[in-house]
Symmetry: C2
Subunit: 351 residues, 2 copies
């Protein structure tokens, strides 16, 4: 088994994590190394659930915080092993999110008596289908392990605070017609032609900008796919427009669905995916925000903070790395951000 | 080798032809049988070109007519061998177009001294890509074999006369945008949304009805495919609407293309297929039409009559079987139509 030295500095630790490959579904070697390193720390109680690892202090503090980070990466793209260049760690997962995991592991090792009890969650399968997600599985089967007053998700946020997140709705709008040979097209009803108003309505739609805790969650409603076609000489009898809605976390999934249905009352609307967003909850995170010394921004895009929100736990995204570099072959994380995240969180946890 | 008895009646001959499988590309056994049967007739000169067979009289008549029929069928659909039921021959190709081939073979065998010289063309690969089409290959390499004053294509026409045919144009209308993550959709330009006017214009378009020789060729312009979509969370940067135009044979391919381009001046239009139609040419077919005793109808849908039109030879579709049954598993040809087609053509060829 590869061993991790949590006593080495956050940059070396980030590189060590990058150099243990852990594509989704293949996290076992990294989870083994993380588990062993945490079990070596006497102030932590460690649980292993699949290839996820949970470690907790139990100091009787009045407040408990979660630090969570996923262990998996997207597939490699010629970006292993890690390289330190221009004061940045380059390599698969450096940004998304082994830099954040390194920061959390450093806190676990170096802050044995934090001012609030801590739960560290290092989990598998964040980059794949939601039902394989390690955090989802723990929430589903061992929710008591996640009980806390607040949570920090170590997703790359450029070492800033990204609060809450939008919800997601995906739906198929089905337009129906009637087939015919194109040589006698007037005998059919062209479903593709009838889809024009659907696309025009999407074009004309002006998404709302919803302000919550002073943060603007700008919504979006986009056609992400259009599919029609039977054969080159056939009037198509079906045209499916797939729409993706990103809705403000103040809307419930039910409200988001009703919104889309109301926009397309005369069509068949099949909702295929709907996940709630996460309210920023900044009123309950004021102390942490002050300690981190950054002005919160709204998170655009869905993250696992929504899983904490669903448990009633306010959570924010805070981690080193530019989120727009996630999943790119050239992803990297700046050394300065690794250090500042570790320092800010460490001082928040210190008396 | 399977032998064909051209002396048996047209119904038995149709069944014998159906019972020699000849899916496109696998016509050799049937072409062998047809070639052998024709070579046994002393009044015919026979040429074999690939799996196509051409047989000619050379009686010095002032006029020459072509009878043409394809030997191939679409793939079998559990509809072999042939069955005679309810006064119809059922089975693969019975309608499209072994019934018509049987009629032509019967004429070849029973009318040794026709009133006009005859060229029989039994050809391969009509049901597949145009460049494999046997008639196309003969026209391309041995056009002298097709020289004639008129042609009869034995396509199923319900034993009626279907004259000329529409031309075909297929084009891709490309709408471009700019990709973005759907969580920040306003940073992109949704190509699918921008395709709305293309589809609306197709919906609003009123195709023309062009009358030629008293026959109405109704045109059509149909979206046959719409394709957009990169991923479920990406604003698509391209939407392609494929349109299929069926244009009156009085329009040249150039005019047909200009028509479509004029309708979509602001979009990229990529023409992928364009084939001219065939004028009905009834003024040059009056004698034949009178002999067949049917009122000509316009042919909607493209057939190989257009290949004869391109050679300057007026041609019509005339054969047994309901054209709407072509390519269906349940295709059949009525005995009554087999007999009436044989009788009408035989009497046109007899003094």
């Amino acid at each position: 088994m590869i061993s991790l030295d949590l006593a080495c500095d956050v940059v070396a630790l980030t590189r060590a994590l990058v150099d243990i490959p852990s594509e989704s579904g293949h996290e076992a070697p990294l989870a083994d190394a993380v588990e062993a390193a945490l079990r070596a720390l006497p102030h932590l109680t460690v649980d292993r659930i699949g290839n996820s690892v949970v470690a907790r202090t139990d100091l009787g503090r009045p407040q408990r915080a979660v630090f969570a980070g996923h262990l998996d990466t997207v597939p490699a793209a010629g970006n292993l092993p890690s390289v330190l260049r221009d004061d940045c760690v380059h390599g698969l997962g450096a940004c998304d999110m082994k830099g954040g995991v390194a920061v959390a592991l450093r806190l676990a090792a170096t802050v044995p008596a934090p001012t609030r009890d801590l739960t560290y969650v290092f989990y598998e399968c964040e980059e794949v289908e939601g039902d394989r997600n390690g955090l989802h599985r723990i929430a589903d089967r061992h929710p008591e392990l996640l009980a806390a007053d607040l949570a920090v998700l170590m997703e790359p946020s450029d070492a800033g605070i990204e609060a809450g997140c939008q919800g997601i709705l995906t739906a198929a709008i089905v337009v129906r017609g009637e087939r015919a040979h194109t040589a006698r097209s007037w005998k059919g009803v062209n479903a593709a032609h009838l889809a024009a108003p659907v696309l025009q309505r999407l074009h004309d739609h002006r998404p709302e900008r919803v302000v919550i805790n002073g943060l603007e969650y700008r919504e979006g409603l986009s056609a992400v796919a259009v599919r029609a076609g039977v054969a080159g000489n056939v009037v198509p009898d079906e045209c499916v427009v797939t729409v993706n809605s990103r809705f403000a976390p103040s809307r419930s999934p039910e409200e988001a669905e009703a919104y889309v249905r109301k926009l397309f009352p005369e069509y068949e609307v099949l909702v295929t995916e709907i996940v709630p967003g996460a309210l920023p909850g900044l009123d309950r995170l004021a102390g942490l925000v002050a300690a981190l010394g950054a002005t919160p921004r709204p998170k655009l895009g869905w993250t696992d903070v929504a899983r904490f929100a669903a448990l009633g736990t306010p959570a924010l995204n805070y981690g080193p790395g530019d989120p727009t570099l996630a999943h790119t072959a050239g992803e990297y994380v700046p050394v300065e951000q690794l250090r500042s995240c570790e320092e800010r969180l460490s001082s928040w946890l210190s008396p």
